[in-house]
C-alpha cells in the first residue's frame, strides 16, 4: 500500500509540479516559435506515455502485491500484445519526428533575403561584423590578426573595406528582418545562444558555422555562451538589442568601417611616431 502510494505521488507529483510551478519557456522573440510547438507536442505525447506507464505500474504494484495464496500467472509471451505495442510506439515516434524534421528543414534553409552578420567569439567575449554597403563580408585569416586588425580581415579583399566592425559593444538587429548569423571563433569552441531566440550553434575555430532567425519582438536580450570554452565560460555574456528600423539605422550610421578603423589606427600610430 505504502509503496504504491508513494510511487503514485511521485508520478502524479511530476505532473503537479509542471502545472504548479511558474518555470517554463521564456516568451519566444524570434520566428522559431515552431520549435516551441514541436517541443510542446513532444511534451504532451511523452507526458501521456509517462503517466500511462507510470500509473499502470503503480496499479500493478498495488493490485498484485504479495499474497500468500496467490500464484503468479505463467505467460512467457503474448505476440499480439507485443506487436500492437510496438506498432503504437512506432506511430508515436513518427508523430514526433515528422514535425521535427519539417522544422529542421526550415532551420537549415536560409531565406534568400537574409542579411549576413558575423559573430566572432573569443575568450571571453563577443565581436560582430556587418557586411557594409556591398552586402558581402570580406574573407578572413586567423594569421592576419593583430592589434591593427583584430578580426584578421584580408586587406587584399575589396569586400572587406566597407565591413562594419562592432567591437566590444552590443549587437543590434532589426526587427522582422531575417539575419544569417555567421559564427566564427578565433580560439576555442563557443556557442552563440540567446534563450529568447531559441536557436543556437557552436562556433568552431577553423571553420564557419551558421544559423538564421528573424527577430520578432523588440527588446534587449542576453547572449550566453553555451559551449564550455575555458575558465571564463560562465562570464561570456553579451547583449543583443532588437530594434525598429529607425533606431537600427541610427545605430548603424554610428558604426565605423574597417577602412576607417585602419586609417584611424594609422593616424594614431603616426602621431605616436611624430611625437618621438
Amino acid at each position: 500500500m505504502f509503496v504504491a502510494f508513494i510511487l503514485f505521488l511521485v508520478v502524479v507529483g511530476t505532473l503537479v509540479f509542471h502545472f504548479w510551478s511558474p518555470y517554463w519557456l521564456t516568451p519566444v522573440a524570434s520566428n522559431w516559435g515552431s520549435m516551441d510547438q514541436t517541443l510542446i507536442l513532444t511534451f504532451w505525447v511523452t507526458g501521456a506515455v509517462f503517466m500511462a506507464v507510470g500509473l499502470f505500474m503503480v496499479y500493478c504494484v498495488w493490485r498484485y502485491r504479495y499474497q500468500k495464496d496467490r500464484k503468479a500467472e505463467y505467460k512467457p509471451e503474448d505476440k499480439k500484445l507485443e506487436f500492437r505495442l510496438t506498432l503504437l510506439t512506432a506511430i508515436g515516434v513518427v508523430a514526433l519526428l515528422a514535425p521535427g524534421l519539417i522544422v529542421w528543414k526550415d532551420f537549415v534553409t536560409v531565406p534568400k533575403n537574409a542579411v549576413e552578420v558575423e559573430v566572432v567569439g573569443y575568450q571571453w567575449g563577443w565581436n560582430y561584423r556587418l557586411p557594409g554597403e556591398d552586402g558581402i563580408l570580406g574573407k578572413t585569416d586567423i594569421k592576419n590578426i593583430s592589434d591593427n586588425n583584430p578580426y584578421g580581415l584580408d586587406l587584399n579583399d575589396s569586400n572587406s573595406k566597407d565591413d562594419i566592425m562592432v567591437q566590444d559593444a552590443d549587437l543590434h538587429l532589426q526587427i522582422d528582418k531575417p539575419v544569417k548569423l555567421l559564427l566564427r571563433s578565433i580560439d576555442a569552441l563557443h556557442n552563440f545562444y540567446v534563450p529568447e531566440f531559441r536557436a543556437k550553434m557552436d562556433m568552431v575555430p577553423g571553420m564557419i558555422t551558421f544559423y538564421w532567425l528573424t527577430p520578432t519582438k523588440t527588446g534587449e536580450y542576453e547572449i550566453l555562451c553555451a559551449e564550455l570554452c575555458g575558465t571564463g565560460h560562465y562570464a561570456m555574456l553579451g547583449t543583443v538589442l532588437v530594434e525598429e528600423e529607425r533606431d537600427y539605422s541610427n545605430w548603424l550610421a554610428q558604426q565605423i568601417t574597417f577602412e576607417n578603423a585602419l586609417a584611424q589606427n594609422r593616424t594614431i600610430l603616426q602621431l605616436a611616431e611624430n611625437k618621438k
Binding site: 515516434v93 590578426i145 559564427l183 580560439d187 534563450p195 568552431v204 553555451a226
Partner: protein
C-alpha cells in the same frame, strides 16, 4: 570422455506455449568442450591480491569502482554547494570546472563501466553460464590491475601542478589543451593516459567476458537460456570492445596534440592573444571520434542495468519475464543502433547540417526497442505476486526514473527541440535521470540481491528500505527541477548559475542542492549497512530469493573455487520458470530436469 555428459537430455516441447522450438542440443557432440583446466592459487598473495578467480576479481573491481565513485560523489556535492551558495566561495571557477570534469569522467567510465562490466561481469558471467571460471584467468587478473593503475593515474592528476583537467568530460579540443582551461598542461595528459590505460585494461577483461559467454557455457545452456543479466553485460561488452577504439584513437591524437604540438584537432587559432603554431586541424573530428565512442558508452552503462533489472523483477515478482526473446532482441538492436546515432550529441556543434535528418531518425528509432523493454518490465509485474523486497523497490525506482529520463531523451533526439535545449540543464537532467540515477538504483538493487551470494549474509532490509526511499525520492527531486531550468535556457557548465531575467531560479537551485546533500548523506546508511552485514549480518539460507538462475545452485554458498564442485550443472530450461502451472514448487531452477517436475503443464525450454 568424462561421464558427466552422459545424460540423455530430456526436453519437452510445448510449441504452443513458448513459440520456440527446442534448440537441437541432442545431437551436438558431447564433450565438445572438455573440462576447464583450473588455476590454483598457491600463496596468500595469489589468493587475495593477484587473484585469478573471477569472483575475487569481480569483488576487487567493485571495491575500487565504489571507492572512486565516492570521490565522484563528493565532488558533485561540493559543486552543488558552490552553485547554490556562491557566497560561501567554496570553489573558484577553475576548480569548479576541474570538478565537473572529474565528476563526469569518474562516474561514467571509472565507476559505472568498471562496476557493471568488471564487477558484475566477473562475478556473474561464469556463475550464470555454468563455467568454472573465466576462460583466461591470468589475463583477467591483469585487466584488474591495469584498471587500478588507470585509477591511480587519474587520481594523481589532482596532485600535479595545475591540477586535473577542466575541459569537461567530453575533453573537446582546442580548449582542452590551450591556456585558459585549467589543467591544460599536466591534467589533460594524465587524463588521457588514464583513459588509454583503462581501454587497455578493459579490453583484456572484455575479451574474457565475451569468450566465456560464447564458448564456455555448460551443457544445455543455449544462448536463449541465458539470464538477461548476462545478455545485458554481454552486449555491453561487445559495444565496449567496438567503441573504445574510437576513444583510444581520439585520445592518442589529442595526446600528441598536447605533447608534440601536432595539429590533428588544432586549426590555426589564437590562444590568450597569441597566435598558435598549429594549422589545418579539425576540432569537429575529435567530437565525432569522441561520440562514436561516447554514445555507445552511455548504453554500455545502460544495457547491463536493463539486463539485471529484468532478472530482479522476475525473481521478486515470482513471475517469468514477459517476452524474453523480445527482450534479448531489443538488447541486440539497441546495441547495434547505438553505433549510428552518435552525432545526436553534435546537432549544434556546427557539423554538416544535413546530418540532422539522419541522426534524428536513427535516434528516435531507438525509442522503439527501448519502449519494448519498458513495457515488458511493467507487464512482468502484471498478474505477478510482487514481493516488495529491497531489490524490488530499487527496480520500481529504476523503471520510473528511466522512463522519465528516456522520454526526455526523445526531446533531445528530435533535432529541432535539441537546438534550444542543448547544453542547458535540461540535458543535465536527462542524463542524470537516465544514467546518474536509473542504473545506480539498479546497482543498489543488485547489491542487495547478490550480497548473500558473495558474503553468505543478508543485508538489513529495514535500513535498505530507508536507504531506498531517501535515494530514490531525493534523487528524483534533484533532477526534475533541472528540466525546468533547462526550459528557461540556463546553460550547463556555468560556474555562476545563470539567472534568467524572465524568472529567477535561485529557489530551485537551493532546493536542488539541499536534495543532493540529503541523498549524498543517505549513502552513509548504505555503507553502514554493508559493513555491519558483512561482519554480523543475518546468515543467509541457500538461494534466499528462490531464484532459478545457476549462480544460486552451486553446491556451496558462497561458491567455492571452481564454482561447481565435482560436476558442472546441466541446464534444461530458461531461468524464469516461476509459478509454472501443474507444479507444486513455486520455482524450478535451471538445472532441474523435466522428469523431476513431471506435472508441468507448460515448459519453456
Amino acid at each position: 570422455m568424462p561421464d558427466e555428459f552422459g545424460y540423455k537430455i530430456e526436453a519437452k516441447v510445448d510449441m504452443a506455449a513458448s513459440g520456440t522450438s527446442v534448440p537441437p542440443i541432442d545431437y551436438v557432440p558431447v564433450a565438445e568442450r572438455p573440462e576447464q583446466e583450473l588455476y590454483h592459487s598457491k600463496s596468500w598473495w595469489t589468493t587475495y591480491v593477484f587473484s585469478q578467480d573471477a569472483k575475487y576479481i569481480g569483488i576487487q573491481y567493485t571495491c575500487v569502482a565504489t571507492a572512486i565513485a565516492l570521490v565522484g560523489l563528493t565532488l558533485s556535492l561540493l559543486m552543488r554547494i558552490q552553485l547554490a551558495f556562491p557566497n560561501l566561495s567554496l570553489l573558484d571557477a577553475s576548480v569548479y570546472y576541474q570538478f565537473i570534469t572529474m565528476h563526469g569522467m569518474i562516474m561514467v567510465v571509472f565507476f559505472l563501466t568498471a562496476l557493471f562490466l568488471g564487477g558484475f561481469g566477473n562475478l556473474l558471467i561464469p556463475l550464470m553460464c555454468g563455467a568454472r571460471d573465466m576462460v583466461f584467468p591470468y589475463v583477467n587478473m591483469l585487466s584488474f590491475w591495469v584498471f587500478v593503475l588507470a585509477v591511480l593515474v587519474l587520481v594523481a592528476s589532482f596532485f600535479v601542478p595545475g591540477g586535473p583537467t577542466g575541459a569537461g568530460w567530453t575533453l573537446y579540443p582546442p580548449q582542452a589543451i590551450t591556456a585558459g582551461t585549467p589543467g591544460n598542461l599536466w591534467g589533460i595528459v594524465l587524463m588521457l593516459v588514464s583513459l588509454v590505460l583503462f581501454v587497455v585494461g578493459f579490453t583484456m577483461g572484455g575479451l574474457n567476458y565475451v569468450i566465456t559467454v560464447l564458448q564456455a557455457r555448460t551443457r544445455g545452456m543455449t544462448l536463449m537460456r541465458l539470464p538477461l543479466s548476462i545478455w545485458g553485460i554481454f552486449v555491453a561488452t561487445i559495444l565496449a570492445l567496438l567503441a573504445f577504439p574510437a576513444l583510444l584513437v581520439g585520445g592518442i591524437m589529442l595526446l600528441l596534440d598536447a605533447v608534440f604540438g601536432t595539429s590533428f584537432f588544432m586549426p590555426a587559432s589564437v590562444s590568450m592573444g597569441e597566435l598558435l603554431q598549429t594549422e589545418g586541424g579539425s576540432p569537429i573530428l575529435f567530437q565525432h571520434l569522441f561520440w562514436f565512442f561516447g554514445h555507445p558508452e552511455v548504453y554500455i552503462v545502460a544495457l547491463p542495468a536493463f539486463g539485471i533489472v529484468s532478472d530482479l523483477i522476475s525473481v521478486h515478482a515470482r513471475k517469468n519475464i514477459f517476452g524474453y526473446r523480445m527482450m534479448v532482441w531489443a538488447l541486440v538492436i539497441i546495441g547495434a543502433l547505438s553505433f549510428i546515432v552518435w552525432a545526436h550529441h553534435m546537432y549544434v556543434a556546427g557539423m554538416n547540417p544535413w546530418f540532422g535528418y539522419f541522426f534524428a531518425t536513427t535516434t528516435l528509432i531507438i525509442a522503439v526497442p527501448t519502449a519494448i523493454k519498458v513495457y515488458n518490465w511493467v507487464l512482468t509485474l502484471w498478474r505477478g505476486n510482487i514481493h516488495l523486497t529491497v531489490p524490488m523497490l530499487f527496480t520500481l525506482g529504476f523503471i520510473i526514473t528511466f522512463l522519465n529520463g528516456g522520454l526526455t531523451g526523445l526531446f533531445l533526439g528530435n533535432v529541432v527541440i535539441d537546438v534550444p535545449l542543448s547544453d542547458t540543464y535540461f540535458v543535465v537532467a536527462h542524463f542524470h535521470m537516465v544514467m546518474g540515477i536509473a542504473p545506480v538504483l539498479v546497482v543498489f538493487g543488485a547489491v542487495y540481491h547478490w550480497f548473500p551470494l558473495v558474503t553468505g549474509r543478508m543485508l538489513d532490509q529495514g535500513l535498505g528500505k530507508l536507504h531506498f526511499w531517501i535515494t530514490f525520492v531525493g534523487a528524483y527531486m534533484i533532477y526534475t527541477p533541472m528540466y525546468y531550468q533547462g526550459f528557461l535556457g540556463v546553460p550547463r557548465r556555468y560556474f555562476e548559475m545563470y539567472e534568467s531575467s524572465y524568472i529567477s531560479t535561485v529557489g530551485l537551485n537551493v532546493f536542488i542542492t539541499l536534495s543532493a546533500l540529503v541523498v549524498g548523506l543517505a549513502q552513509i546508511i548504505f555503507f553502514y549497512n554493508v559493513i555491519r552485514s558483512v561482519l554480523k549480518g543475518e546468515k543467509a539460507e541457500k538461494n534466499p530469493w528462490k531464484a532459478n538462475s545457476l549462480e544460486w545452485q552451486t553446491p556451496k554458498m558462497p561458491p567455492e573455487h571452481g564454482n561447481w564442485g565435482e560436476k558442472l550443472p546441466v541446464v534444461y530450461r530458461w531461468p524464469y520458470d516461476f509459478s509454472v502451472p501443474g507444479v507444486d514448487k513455486e520455482h524450478i531452477p535451471q538445472n532441474v530436469s523435466p522428469s523431476e517436475v513431471a506435472g508441468a503443464k507448460v515448459e519453456k525450454t
